[in-house]
């Protein structure tokens, strides 16, 4: 059986995948339908490898993290129970990898902006490669919700408009309240003379 491997290179990252075609669904030679292994080499850092689930976990946190960073939103992805998590760290990006083996300490990798871009480009190349026919479940790229973006706006700026609007409303209302009301006259019915009465 022919084992196929592909390599995706960027300046500081190299992603290497190997696997076999899934003949049960009619895949031909030269494609990967079943991933048997993968490896990411980060220059000046660690070498990562694992099973498909681990690569999937990496994609599941890195892709939405990058999507949010594109919109200027800095937030963490990946909960403590997942294999991988990522968080912003003083101008860089910290990836925490937890091994599924008991007694192995989590591995921390700190990437700068250029290394993160290299990593995401390698992952993009893999996802878009028509020769790798694996159904990756990746969160779709969608516009963020307003509530996700609201943290970008400074606190003072965020509340300036509603505070100004409320102040203007209160001021205007107070001004109107200072205007004296006109004096009311009481008309007795005898003073009112009927006019144009119909016969």
């Amino acid at each position: 059986m022919i084992k196929t491997s592909f390599q995706y290179d960027q300046t500081t990252a190299r992603l290497y995948v190997e696997g076999l075609p899934d003949f049960s669904i009619g895949q031909e030679d030269g494609v990967i339908g079943i991933l048997s292994g993968w490896r990411i080499e980060l220059i000046g850092s660690h070498e990562l490898e694992g099973k498909k689930e681990h690569l999937q976990s990496l994609m599941n946190v890195v892709q939405p993290y990058v999507r949010h960073r594109l919109s200027g939103v800095e937030r963490s992805f990946g909960d403590p129970s997942s294999h991988v998590s990522i968080r912003p760290l003083e101008g860089s990006h910290e990836i925490l990898l937890r091994s599924s083996q008991v007694g192995v300490n989590p591995l921390t990798i700190v990437l700068d902006d250029a290394e993160l871009a290299d990593l995401i480009r390698c992952l993009d190349d893999l996802i878009l490669d028509h020769r790798v026919r694996i159904d990756w479940t990746i969160p779709a790229n969608q516009p963020l919700l307003r509530r996700d973006l609201v943290d970008k706006v400074p606190f003072v700026k965020r509340f300036f408009t509603p505070v100004l609007g409320t102040s203007i409303f209160i001021l205007t209302t107070s001004l109107f309240l200072t205007i004296p009301l006109p004096t009311l006259f009481e008309f007795s019915p005898s003073l009112v003379q009927p006019t144009d009465q119909k016969q």
Binding site: R69, L70, D112, A114, E115, A117, I120, A140, N141, L144
Partner: protein, 199 residues
Amino acid sequence: MNESSTTSSDSVEPFRTASPKKQNVFLRPHSVLGRKGLERLDLLLLAIESIDLNGGESLIWVAQQLGLENVFPNRVELWKQRCHNPLRRSTRRGSLDSTESEGLILLLCSMSQRLYPLIHQLLSSKEPIELSRERWKLLNKRLIHLMEERMNTRLSSVQRLMTPTKVKELSRQLVFTLALSAGPGGVDRLRASLLDPTP
């Protein structure tokens, strides 16, 4: 037997979207870019021109390579479409239709891919500090020059962008965005971020 292949994505080739099986809801004809999206798109193209001194010509050449001659037949048409940015000196009313905005996004991602080595150099923390500082200084100088030339400097928002501290922050943000949206994988991501609502 082992069959291996290396993928390098530095050549200009027609882009495919990340998920060809799924219909992308953001390609609907009525999904047009808002004011902020137009501003950001034009600023990103301006950043491309700041990095590549011959950026104007390169944009047209890449448009031809991508088969976008109908959308951008010449420099004037490209300029007219970029003039939808409300910050421009000679701004145009209305908004870009989906074909035009899609064309500009493809053009931007393709140019980012071509200039990726330079973008990587700018963002990398492994580069010599002095050299990196000089590169950013040159980039910021050119960005300010292009903004003075093309933007309506009477607008307070443009004046704010051109202050020395803000321009540093802006150029860093633009270059990082270019890095994360380089290549075919960046198209969906960039499009989604340009369609973000205004917070």
